[in-house]
Symmetry: C2
Subunit: 153 residues, 2 copies
Amino acid sequence: MTPLRTNATSVAKERLRLWLNMLKAVRHVENDVRERLRAQYQMTLPQFDVMATLHNHPEGLRMSDLSQQLVVSNGNVTGIVERLVADGLAERENLESDRRASLVRVSEKGNALMDEMVVVHREWIDEIFQDISEPDAARAISIMLDIRQRRCA
Amino acid sequence: MTPLRTNATSVAKERLRLWLNMLKAVRHVENDVRERLRAQYQMTLPQFDVMATLHNHPEGLRMSDLSQQLVVSNGNVTGIVERLVADGLAERENLESDRRASLVRVSEKGNALMDEMVVVHREWIDEIFQDISEPDAARAISIMLDIRQRRCA
DNA sequence: GAAGAATACTTTATACCTCAACTGACTCGT
DNA sequence: ACGAGTCAGTTGAGGTATAAAGTATTCTTC
């Protein structure tokens, strides 16, 4: 067994371990946040994700902008926005400039709610991540970016 | 604005940024792996996750062990294992010691497949994570553990 | 300026996923 | 024993998810 091969498999194992731990950590946080959302706001996690994204873009977003921001499929967004509109939390408007597309934005009711929820949500995350120092967070962010920014579709 | 408050909100923002980046990174990797699984093995990601876990425990696992390992709900595992058994990749056996429970393990056919897939999967992850050095991986793993190991239910 | 390619989005089929309620089985105190 | 409480697992309803196919619209290119 050459040292080269040993090192290569050693890195590979560590990367796999990282991946499995990322998965568990994300699910752990998602479960925590999901439960709080349900208990305190009767809202699902995907619905909140969409609302939070819309809240960051008061000018409105297209369906494809949403699916790209959230890294989910196109058809997925259709259903979630449908429910949000039905609940009066979001609105859709046809675009004159491109009749295939439409703009989605938070409704007045949704905006008032999100003004509050965004603050509360940040506090939740702050609590869940309380053991993570600012330098650790910065370091981890940079690693997360490295993972995503690999050349690909 | 006191410096204390400034620092507190600064850390909170960085933690939120970390959370959002973790989410995107995980979805990115999941999408990549999901596509390869579908194209090369006609298997879904959750099914692979279950099979890989079972493959690591040749003696077999109970349903609740599986859901705990994968950080998913109990009812979820029921459906996935159902499909795996239907496809002949896994087997279930009633436990004499506890007639409420049952053991799940990979079938002979599933074992042969997983012997190969586990290696290929590690290569995929190694490729996707190729920009992550071993020290970075180790550091990130420790941060992921910190996130999970906070006291909670 | 019309055929063809590309785009934005929806729809359908299938699989996942949680939660809450439920069934059947174990445990334990009395 | 035996009933209250607990535990392993399933079920059903509702809500995500993806992939693939389909629709309408816009762009492109000659």
